[in-house]
Amino acid sequence: MQALSISTVSKTFGTITAVDALSLTVERGEMFALVGPDGSGKTTTIRMLCGIVKPDSGTVTVLDYDVQKQKEEVKRRIGYLSQRFSLYGDLTIDENIEFFAEIHKVRGYKQRRDELLEFTRLTPFRDRLADKLSGGMKQKLALACTLIHTPDIIFLDEPTTGVDPVSRRDFWKVLSALLKTGITIIMTTPYLDEAERCSRVALMNDGKILLTDTPAGLKQHMNGEVVEIVCSDIRRSFALLKPNPSVLEVQAFGDRLNIVVRSAAADVPGILSFLASNSVEVSDWRTVRPSLENVFISLLTDRREA
């Protein structure tokens, strides 16, 4: 069953086309990610889905309701966590959730609140002021507030930006557990390793979706192969390979290089002898699985050069 669909939706702000004839369908129970560079239209898309921004043209349907015509129906069934989510610093965890329960007119919210605090493991801190919480705890409290009215879909706009790795991992545990309740999650993220955790990913650029697929499916679109080279003098090798015509991309890691070539079988022998002629010692090489970052960089580079 469909959680939402948008069909040829556009939005311009002055002379800037933020979203350009975008179409997208998300099924119930998916964890779906919108990924793309700054200014690619991710946030505007999320805001149109929530009914906060009105599209210039096209239709947005959420849970079979028309977002523009049936705003109240939609509002009751969705939750939205914006990038600049504000909690009340001088209220406690309990009071913040209570405040959101009242905004959403949730009656008898106390049991739901207890469940959410358990679920986000915030119960021991419930009497603490929001200002005294760590970044990761604030993020989880914001999520709990977003969930107080038991929405069917939640929209998360860069929920883990600026959150440290341990809290980020913890936040993902909570999201994984949420999926078990059948909720649909739509998120934007600048972290491509996070996009790997989603069931499907849409890559956005210039207000358009370039591709939508599972993380594994997206990797099929990689132009070329990723080859890992373990060699001496990494930085000099990086500088040598950067202008080489058969090397499409090169990344220098602490102890190795990753290069993208059209074909490992055809291109690697030439590259190895080129490195040898510059007295770089190559101790090992192998083709590796591309990361989503490799795929995105390759797709976006193709676009920008086209």
């Binding site: 129970g29 964890m31 793309g36 560079p37 700054d38 200014g39 760590s134 970044g135 990761g136 930006t161 600026g162 959150v163 440290d164 790795p165 341990v166 809290s167 980020r168 991992r169 993902w172 545990k173 994984s176 999926l179 078990k180 600048p190 972290y191 491509l192 390793d193 790997e196 955790r197 989603c198 069931s199 599972t214 993380p215 594994a216 930085r235 000099r236 990086f238 500088a239 990344q251 220098a252 890691f253 602490g254 102890d255 990361s291 970052e293 995105f296 960089i297 976006l300």
Partner: protein, 310 residues
Amino acid sequence: MNAIEVRGLTKRFGQFTAVDHIDFDVKQGEIFGFLGANGAGKSTTIRMLCGLLSSTEGTARVGGFDINTDPHSVKQSIGYMSQKFSLYEDLTVEENIDFFGRVYGITESALKERKAWVLDIANLHGREKSITGTLSGGWKQRLALGCAVLHRPRIVFLDEPTSGVDPVMRRKFWELINELSADGVTVLVTTHFLEEAEYCNDIILINAGKIIASGSPKELKRDHIKHPILEVHCSDVVRAMERIEEEPWAVETSIFGTTIHVNVENEQQGRDAITSLLHRNGITVNGIERITPSLEDVFIYLLEHGGGKG
């Protein structure tokens, strides 16, 4: 020669020990990753190494100068950049470069050449008169780095330089860092993106003011991951995860797209147990493969099992 030598460095604020007897060396020209959760003591350490804050105990030499007895020379030999404080948002691109030029006492003629270089690396030619605040994150970042190294320091401190920058710009930013390193500049960087820590030659991880692990990315992965990670491809991942996480042999379970990652005590026993468990529950297993841990896996493991606060 080491660019930075830290010995027993300690900082206490009243009763609170922010940095607790840490020792490490950073070699000339390397990219050194300095990692830890928020509040672990990273910023306090960097402020001491920049000569902005004196230590309570212990010391450090930066570019050969002692941070406590000669903080002025330390300040002159380093560059510092952070996401938050580096640029004046209400000044134009050119005014920011001029401002840093004057702070560093760069002569007019040298500044002209350096300004062209900054505009070049930041790709901002033609936008000299733009207000800095109107630039997107990635452009601002490159401008900030340019300003931080305007006076050609041999050591650069980058405090979460890529936070809030998109993947494509982040990749380009790291190319710049690599170029600096290739010129012999020593780079000490803190980041929340553990994928970026892979770019570093050496890393230390601190927690509660103490170093809990150090080494190259490869050494850290080899030495600290005790539980193999299996990637399970199967139907109905949500239900499969619910079943697996109830089992005592599953140390940690999480959904990864259309797969599940399970940390197990033992690879072969884990494979067998997952296969038979999912089979009994009518879930089709399409494959199980062992995957290389990421640095994030290593750090989460260390912070939960090895280090400090627990």
